[in-house]
Symmetry: C2
């Protein structure tokens, strides 16, 4: 009986344990490798880098919370600071998800902003927001470990790598230099700042997340400020908008999902603060995990791919203490 | 007024027309290039290669139809034939979507198959299904145009290309050979055949589609049989399952979406047959489109990527006569 249940679940197997005597020969899966990581290989995410976004409850009354990890230095810090300012001013309270475009993005903000139907009703932005421009889409990095790093061939930017838990595209200044340019890349679940045509028009008041295949053409063209580490399914499963670019049309504004609040975890009472950690991308376990993502040798697989694109090597993140 | 509406819509601009006097300078977007294709560059999809899957109506009563284009020769034809046999036998009627795993797949089949809770209630399969194995995951192709083809560097398989409207990974037999191995790749919206551990266990009765970042590690490990050309949003927005691998758990079987029927378009009355066409991947317009996907020069963009992975160059498909 157990055999049959597992057998169904294993159809597109990820990490399905079989009864020992039936287990096909094979190496551990990527998830099994991560489970074997030592406690020291996990790095705590600071509370000020976590945002809790509370959506209105679902139709069945169940709660919908989304946790976002903000990008760490040296990337996008101007926008990250703006987002902290907006959260602390409670500016995000009572905005909404206004756009859901299939295989692209979910976007949330003030539905009255830039909207001719309700001009004048837009919320004023708080004081203290910085104007951040295209020069901050890319960071200059000097890195003594550069030559030791795992680098991945990439059709977009020559090569990609991981820096402190983030997938980045990069360009070396010269062959023997330890200096390079790096920028975060648009993988599934990454969070970015909506903007208008001019690159400095995104304040952080309008945000989006990727819900489809990595739209890497947006890299270096728009600011990434973080990623969703819990509750992604509350956004990715929202009904698609039928207006231009997946915005909800005037006939379907009732499909907008209200956002009750967005708070920095560090501003929440201690008992309500979520705690998360990520697997160090410099750890030995991460290297084994990434290798296994690129070369699946666990039982289901016949032909290892021999490579992977960086967005198919998601950085493991989990609740602390699990 | 118009300006402001467009301005919101352009935040992550794809192809937003601005009033002429306001239009920033720039090249046409990929979608604008496709709109300029000549009628001869579009290729009709045969009715026997289209499946219409009718889901139960949505909660608001609206119809949900999904159209699948089956893979053309030389790829996966054993499974494609099985799927036609299953559709003609009306075997798919009253099965269900049983699995929705975020950033991975939606999977449908007989919920009683391989299920210890309801063993014995599984539908018997029709006669005439072939057992197809791993030797058909890859096709050998001899192609006089090989050296003229657009090829894309790829971290998985060395290079990728398009053959008759399908994205494929490939491996040349030798540098000067016109013979190569090719296989379809797992992009967003591709449809494949669920299987058990043994590679020849997928009949075509259990199917899945990709709803996240391309899981290219599945290439050459599982059969791809087509892609969704309309109605993808009815699958990608379904509630995620909370059981192992995204299967709906025993407590949430009410979330399964019933499938009323799957029919080959060629078996439908003539007035009900959908008609679709795809942009020839050998056409000049497709080459311009692919180049623009890899190097966005339309107004929103600052830095062209300089490349793209093949799953970020979706083949344009549209209803015929539009």
């Amino acid at each position: 009986m157990t055999k049959h249940l597992i057998s169904l679940a294993a159809m597109l197997a990820l990490a399905a344990p079989l009864a020992a005597q039936e287990e096909p020969q094979g190496a551990p899966s990527p998830n099994e490798i991560v489970e074997q990581a030592s406690a020291e290989e996990w790095i705590a995410i600071p509370a000020e880098d976590l945002l809790v976004m509370t959506l209105a409850p679902a139709a069945d009354g169940s709660a919908r919370k989304v946790v976002i990890q903000l990008m760490s230095a040296p990337f996008s810090q101007g926008w990250v600071e703006n987002i902290r300012t907006l959260a602390r001013a409670q500016w995000y309270d009572d905005i909404a998800v206004n756009r859901v475009q299939d295989n692209y993005v979910v976007q949330w903000g003030d539905p009255n902003y830039d909207n001719p139907e309700s001009e004048g009703a837009a919320k004023p932005l708080p004081d203290g927001l910085r104007v951040v421009g295209e020069n901050e889409y890319v960071a200059n990095v000097i890195d003594d470990d550069l030559l030791a790093r795992h680098r991945y061939a990439d059709p977009y930017s020559g090569w990609t790598t991981f820096i402190e838990g983030w997938a980045v595209g990069s360009k070396q200044e010269s062959l023997h230099s330890l200096e390079y340019q790096a920028w975060p890349v648009h993988c599934y679940g990454m969070v970015g700042v909506g903007r208008n045509y001019s690159p400095d028009t995104g304040s952080g008041a309008e945000l989006y997340t990727v819900i489809g295949h990595a739209p890497r053409h947006l890299d270096r063209n728009i600011a990434l400020v973080g990623r969703i580490v819990e509750g992604m399914e509350h956004l990715s499963s929202l009904p698609r908008g039928t207006g231009a670019l997946g915005f909800y049309s005037a006939e379907e504004t009732d499909k907008r999902t209200p956002i009750l609040s967005i708070r920095a975890a560090s501003d929440l009472p201690e008992g309500e603060r979520p705690a998360f950690e990520y697997l160090s991308t410099d750890s030995e376990t991460f290297a084994r995990y990434a290798n296994a993502r690129a070369n699946r040798r666990d039982p289901f697989f016949i032909v290892p791919a021999g490579g992977a694109d960086i967005c198919n090597i998601p950085v493991p993140v989990r609740r602390a203490g699990e």
